[in-house]
Amino acid sequence: MSAHLPRKSSVALRDPRWLRWSLLAIALAFVALFLVLPLLAVFGYAFEKGLDVWRAAVVDEEARAAIRLTLLVAAIAVPLNTVFGVAAAWLVTRYSFRGKGLLVSLIDLPFAVSPVIAGLIYVLLFGKQGWLGPWLADHDVKIIFAVPGIVLATTFVTFPFVARELIPLMQAQGGDEERAAITLGASGWSMFWRVTLPKIGWGLLYGVILCNARAIGEFGAVSVVSGHIRGLTNTMPLHIEVLYNEYQRTAAFAVASLLALFALLTLVLKQIVGWRMRRIAATEPDA
């Protein structure tokens, strides 16, 4: 292995050899210990007792219910946040109005809230002793310890992802293409589908990938509102917790390996999409 320099740098930017090698060694050791080792360990532990044990854990009835629920929750929360993210980015980057700064800070707010608190606020609102609890009970609507609560908590936690990705992108792109479309007689929707969406496409996909990864893996918020009813309100991360605490460690790691595989897929997609975005930005005629 050799450490050489990026092309544009001059002799003056060349670090002494001993410095280069020590920085590289420290950085790689850090990565190996904190990132590579845990990643390999997930798969190691999952297949510790062979493929059959792994397969049995994954096709188990409760595991399959957890997978279905996780996918269902993501399938609701991600589109909701996608629509919101596009609307928020359009609003923030195309108009100036009073309270815009506040709106931008509010969009970021869920990032500052602990997942456990994200769950707690819904319990306080919809739980048995919550503000709306008695009314909900009278009308036989169940939100906490049921699927709607899980969806809400997941939506809260993944709320900013798409908007965060799109706002700087759309700011940089500017709105002249959209204005051109309007002067050419396009309606609002026609402008959106034909001009805006193709323009922001990759950035949107990037945001959706991040949002989806978090939605699938969310643990704290979901754990508070789910009630851990097996086969009904256990998502994959919760199912892992149950298995782990019941000392079915290999089964827990088997399900965990599915999520780790998904995380790897996310990283690959993210890399591809990020690469596409940089390439498009580089060929854009007027930067």
Partner: protein
Amino acid sequence: MRPRWRRQALPGFGLTFGVCASYLFLIVLIPLAALALKSATLGPAEFWNAVASPRALASYRVTFGCAALAGLVNLVLGPLLAFVLVRYRFPGRKLVDALVDLPFALPTAVAGITLTKLYAPNEPLGAWLASLGWKVAYTPSGITVALIFVSLPFLVRSVQPVLEQLDPDIEEAAATLGAGRLTTLWRVVLPALWPAILAGFALAFARAIGEYGSVIFIAGNMPMVSEIAPLLITGKLDQHDYAGATAIAVVLLVTSFVALIAINLLQLWTVRRRSADTR
């Protein structure tokens, strides 16, 4: 005269404003208001008892202490990793660059059980560390390890773009002025990175004090020793002590808001200072 919002050249102001405002209210503001209202219904004494009980105080010490320690480790190693990724070319660089996001992509529960097993005293790594007298799993050390993992990307990713855009001219200028390479890195490059490093640190810290999934498995959850504040909240919820849970949640929320407001002020200040410099 028509209302102001009608006079926008691009369509969609009313629609997007409506969507954003109602969604924000439904998902974020009303539920957070429920938290504020709940804490307002607690009497001062009740609030204080919940917030300042010895067990709660111990949990803050563990939470904030481990979060700060993890942040400090990343404060040193994160920018170093970013520097290596931006400035050096080595085989596998792109792979390492992609892996930095693993803690964002890997569900926290998966990270939690994996780190626990890795550092458990009956596994090779944990046993070796224990033989050196360092017990990691089920102690605050374990919590710190988990928090280093989850907050690692924040520092790398906040420093990386700044480093990429850093004008090599200033380093060449330093070299022509006779500065050695280490002096240049220390006196020229590092100061340019400080705002990004501190912003990354604040984000990492805010994330770490709220972290739950990756911590609870490795923490051991011994009251007074290795119990984190978010776990105290869920514990109180399990006992239907909503008031107590809310009080501790308020402490956590305020702390992370303060950390994040501090970044915003810092960034504002840096932008002002930088623009004043170029005037």
